[in-house]
């Protein structure tokens, strides 16, 4: 699927709009839905290979037009309000690079902000599916190119010279005769008196000086000085801290509050209100909110999954898993079944939103990846017209899928409305794990049939607790469903599964199917949705298959891989990662490959499972096997910012290590037991690889692939395969330590634990 790198200059459309200084708007989703030719392959292409989730999002976005804009200011800066969320993925840096490139403006003269909810964008304001770079790459550059062209034309007219004689560099226009003008000095003169349709040429990749070069984050200075503003740091007048006492089971209800009057008298408390799933308290400080919610005496009603625990959910999943086919004799088969525990998509920043709901209007501040759906839903809940609700998108302290939903924003609006005052509502850390969205438990059953050295069939039956796609991705897909090249009438979840999953191997008859059970847990997408589980199961079976046929795991993959880009990243990883090097007993390598979002990745890790490593003592910490060396080789099509891409791969590897080895939720009687980061054990310094390397392959395409999620699945697979080879036992339950509860759970009531008081005993 490689395409030539040197696509020449092409012309793109945009508009100059009437404004005090130069402003350009451009249509969205142009150049979308280009479908690469499917390759001839013994296995017919699966849907994801010819048309993936990002293509579907691009297609859905195509009709929306004229809605993103670059503005040039008298101080020489250009600004761009991007209709996407920044949650750590470096999107604002990449967008600033696009503007800087096409305008010939220094990167630090580009200001990128996050646009609030803009209903006119329809579904074109969703940050998810690793789609941001793919969908805005051409429109943003087009807007910037038109702005530059207009500035040049303005200078040419002023100086009475042909525009073709002028050059631009670092925000300055030059004429060979010696005259110069800064963009800032022309910002007003270049403004258009009326909206005018114009065309501009984009640079070809060979002309790039910014795009494709490693750049540091544009928000790094603010971050390291503590100046970056997250939702909790905003100062909205009157928006005092608020927290919620929550039921002891997921989505339980409030029957009665027995001591509201007494709690109202506690220091700092200003208001108490019963809400749908708890009792909210507003106070002068969050600490006093914690004191007050803990003091509340509440009678709770049941929630929808009170009778469910890990074992009951697993039994339901196994029962619902469809059968695999029985291949004809004399073929041999390998069967395997893998269980993946519930996982939390909570970022480090607790869910938080500010809401100021008054008669006839409301204003919301939160990190939101689908702000239009949030606006629509909050307006409906408050009984307000949609345009009476203003939604501000704030930069988020991570997302990992959590901010696709606006749960905390809706709750803040409910609390503000009921109290009649502005609130800054934060979930507690324990709320985030116990009542927040989860990646649901799932079971993946795989059967491969082979005869001699030939693989005849690969079947995967993936059964999961229902994943909630109610954040609007579903609406967008259903709106374009008729245009998707997938036969049949699939559900939204099945559509997303089909659009994201495909086997990279020529394994003959290949089927990968999803089944869901409708348990009402609070679920949602987590970084890379189904792929980490599906690919981990697949790669473990591939290793077993290779062993059964008597081949080395790498040689076997090379033979069966369909895609040249995947073979190239595999070869690079094998060489750079020294595949097959001599290692002590109990230490082993593992490899995993994955193609998705039009990118290709190979991960090669070494894991140390020797007792002296596994049993390292860390107070209140999980040790276990350690991935000591990790390598990711990534082909991201066109790597917009290789340094940012590398960061996403490093994060993907650490997510994968957590998913494979240490992090999960244990469900007991309708509630996860995990309540802190020492319970939900995401990778820590003592788990992270000592040697972490990322190799970015030379660009194989002229357009970027998705990147934010790409590294997780192959890394998860590589860690699992390495563990299997180091221990001689293929793991079938993930994370591998899920069977042992490594912590003392916080009580289920009160829902938020009290903060410690002994901090001065632990200084260093």
């Amino acid at each position: 699927m490689a395409e030539p790198n040197g696509v020449g200059r092409r012309r793109f459309l945009g508009y100059l709009v009437a404004a005090p200084t130069l402003a350009v708007v451009v249509g969205y989703g142009v150049d979308a839905a280009r479908r690469p030719e499917a390759e001839a392959a013994p296995s017919p292409p699966q849907p994801e290979e010819i048309f993936d989730l990002g293509d579907a999002q691009n297609l859905a976005a195509a009709p929306t037009s004229g809605l993103i804009s670059v503005q040039v200011h008298p101080d020489g800066t250009a600004s761009f309000a991007v209709p996407r969320a920044e949650v750590g993925q470096g999107m604002t840096t990449a967008v600033a690079m696009m503007v800087a490139e096409e305008m010939d403006l220094p990167l630090d003269k580009v200001r990128v902000t996050l646009a609030g909810a803009r209903p006119e964008l329809l579904m074109n304001q969703l940050t998810g599916g690793s789609n941001s770079m793919r969908s805005i790459y051409v429109p943003v550059r087009t807007a910037a190119a038109i702005a530059r062209q207009r500035l040049v034309a303005t200078a040419a007219r002023r100086w009475g010279v042909p525009a073709s004689e002028l050059t631009t560099k670092d925000g300055v226009i030059r004429h060979p005769g010696g005259r110069t003008a800064t963009y800032g000095s022309l910002a007003a003169a270049a403004a258009s008196p009326r909206t005018t349709r114009v065309e501009a040429e984009l640079k070809s990749p060979s002309e790039f000086t910014v795009l494709g070069t490693p750049r540091n984050r544009v928000d790094a200075y603010d971050i390291v000085t503590g100046r970056k503003v997250f939702a909790a740091d905003l100062r909205v007048p009157g928006a005092k801290p608020a927290m919620v006492r929550r039921p002891p089971t997921i989505n339980g209800s409030v029957v009665a509050v027995r001591n509201a009057d007494a709690v109202q008298q506690l220091p700092g408390v200003t208001d108490i209100a019963v809400i749908e799933h708890g009792v909210a308290v507003r106070a002068e400080t969050f600490g006093q909110c914690i004191d007050a919610i803990r003091a509340l005496d509440v009678e709770w009603g049941p929630g929808p999954v009170d009778r469910e625990s890990d074992a009951t959910v697993l039994a339901k999943l196994k029962k619902a898993t469809p059968p695999v086919l029985v291949p004809p004799l004399p073929a041999k088969t390998i069967d395997a079944e893998f269980t993946f525990a519930f996982a939390s998509n909570s970022p480090l920043e607790p869910d938080i939103a500010i809401a100021d709901v008054r008669a006839g209007r409301a204003e919301i501040w939160a990190s939101l990846k689908v702000p239009i759906v949030a606006q629509e839903d909050i307006a409906r809940r408050l009984g307000l017209p949609q345009d009476a609700v203003t939604v501000h998108v704030v930069e988020g302290g991570g997302s990992f899928g959590r901010h696709l939903f606006h749960d905390v924003a809706a709750e803040a609006a409910e609390v503000s409305q009921k109290m009649g005052k502005p609130v800054k509502l934060s979930w507690s850390r324990t709320d985030n794990f116990r009542q927040g969205r989860t990646h649901p438990m799932c079971v993946s059953r795989v059967r491969v049939a082979y005869l001699g050295g030939n693989v005849l069939s690969y079947e995967q039956r993936h059964t999961s607790v229902r994943t909630d796609f109610g954040h609007g991705l579903g609406e967008m897909l259903s709106a374009t469903a008729a245009r998707l090249p997938i036969a049949g009438n699939l559900s939204i979840a099945e559509s997303i599964f089909a659009l994201t999953q495909s086997s990279p191997y020529n394994f003959g008859v290949t089927t990968q199917l999803l089944n869901e059970i409708p348990l009402k847990f609070r679920t949602g997408s987590m970084r890379n949705i189904y792929s980490p589980n599906v690919v981990c199961a697949q790669e473990l079976v591939v290793d077993r298959l290779a062993a059964a046929i008597g081949k080395d795991p790498v040689a076997f993959r090379r033979k069966y891989l369909k895609d040249e880009r995947l073979r190239a990243v595999l070869d690079k990883a094998v060489a750079a990662g020294e595949w097959g090097r001599s290692l002590p007993k109990g230490v082993a390598q593992g490899i995993g490959v994955h193609a998705e979002y039009r990118g290709a990745v190979a991960a090669l890790v070494e894991i140390d499972c020797r007792p002296e490593t596994v049993n390292r003592p860390i107070e209140h910490g999980v040790t276990g096997p350690r991935v000591t060396r990790a390598l990711i080789v990534v082909d991201a099509g066109f790597a917009i910012n290789p340094r940012g891409l590398e960061a996403q791969m490093i994060g993907g590897m650490n997510d994968a290590i957590a998913l494979a080895l240490t992090s999960s939720l244990h469900i007991k009687d309708g509630l996860p037991l995990e309540g802190s980061w020492d319970d939900y054990f995401y990778t820590r310094q003592w788990n992270t690889p000592l040697d972490m390397r990322v190799i970015v392959m030379p660009n194989s395409r002229s357009t970027p692939s998705g990147a934010g999620e790409l590294g997780v699945a192959p890394s998860f697979a590589a860690v699992a395969c390495a563990y299997a080879r180091a221990t001689g036992t293929m793991p079938t339950r993930f994370p591998i330590n899920h069977g042992t509860l490594g912590f003392e759970p916080f009580p289920v009531e009160p829902s938020t634990p009290q903060s410690p008081t002994d901090g001065l005993d632990h200084t260093y």
Binding site: Q89, I223, G226, G398, A647, D678, T688, S755
Partner: protein, 158 residues
């Protein structure tokens, strides 16, 4: 309501709060100093890490009543002031290695890193992988390898 006086980023501050309110909320909610982040208020994630008299601690786990008038509290905002420069060498190392992703944990990571380097130096050693393994600060974006590289680099200039 009790009055509390202490030294904050080189200046004396006075604030009214109940004795048991944790210092993190006094800093964030009452004094508007928002560099220290709320990640758990359980003394686990360490996103609020600051310095007290030059040593790292978690203000989420210290009632303000335990802070003495002579105690010097340093938050990320006051870290450059401790070396009399625009940025502390550890902050510069963070920029050079492009460490941050979402950035939420990074003020705490930097404060922890500075204290860790000092702690190791006090024993006559330079920081190594074993010391870095002891840092408990959670980075949910998983940028640990860049944190490690930045600390080793930043230590060279401290």
């Amino acid at each position: 309501m009790p009055t509390h006086t202490f030294q904050l980023n080189g200046k004396q501050v006075t604030v009214q709060a109940e004795d048991d309110v944790r210092l993190l909320w006094v800093l964030r909610d009452l004094l508007g100093v928002t560099g220290p982040k709320y990640g758990c208020a359980l003394g686990v994630c360490q996103a609020c890490t600051c310095h007290i008299n030059g040593r790292a601690f978690n203000p989420c786990s210290v009632p303000v009543g335990k802070i003495k008038p002579t105690d010097e509290i340093t938050t990320i905002e006051g870290l450059p002031g401790t070396v009399g420069r625009e940025l502390h060498p550890m902050q510069e190392a963070w920029l050079a290695h492009d460490v941050a992703q979402c950035g939420y944990c990074q003020p705490g990571q930097i404060m922890a890193a500075v204290a860790k380097v000092r702690q190791v130096r006090a024993t006559g050693r330079e920081i190594d992988d074993g010391d870095l393994d002891e840092i408990r600060n959670v980075c949910r974006c998983g940028t640990y390898s860049r944190i490690r590289a930045a600390i080793k680099d930043g230590a060279q200039h401290m």
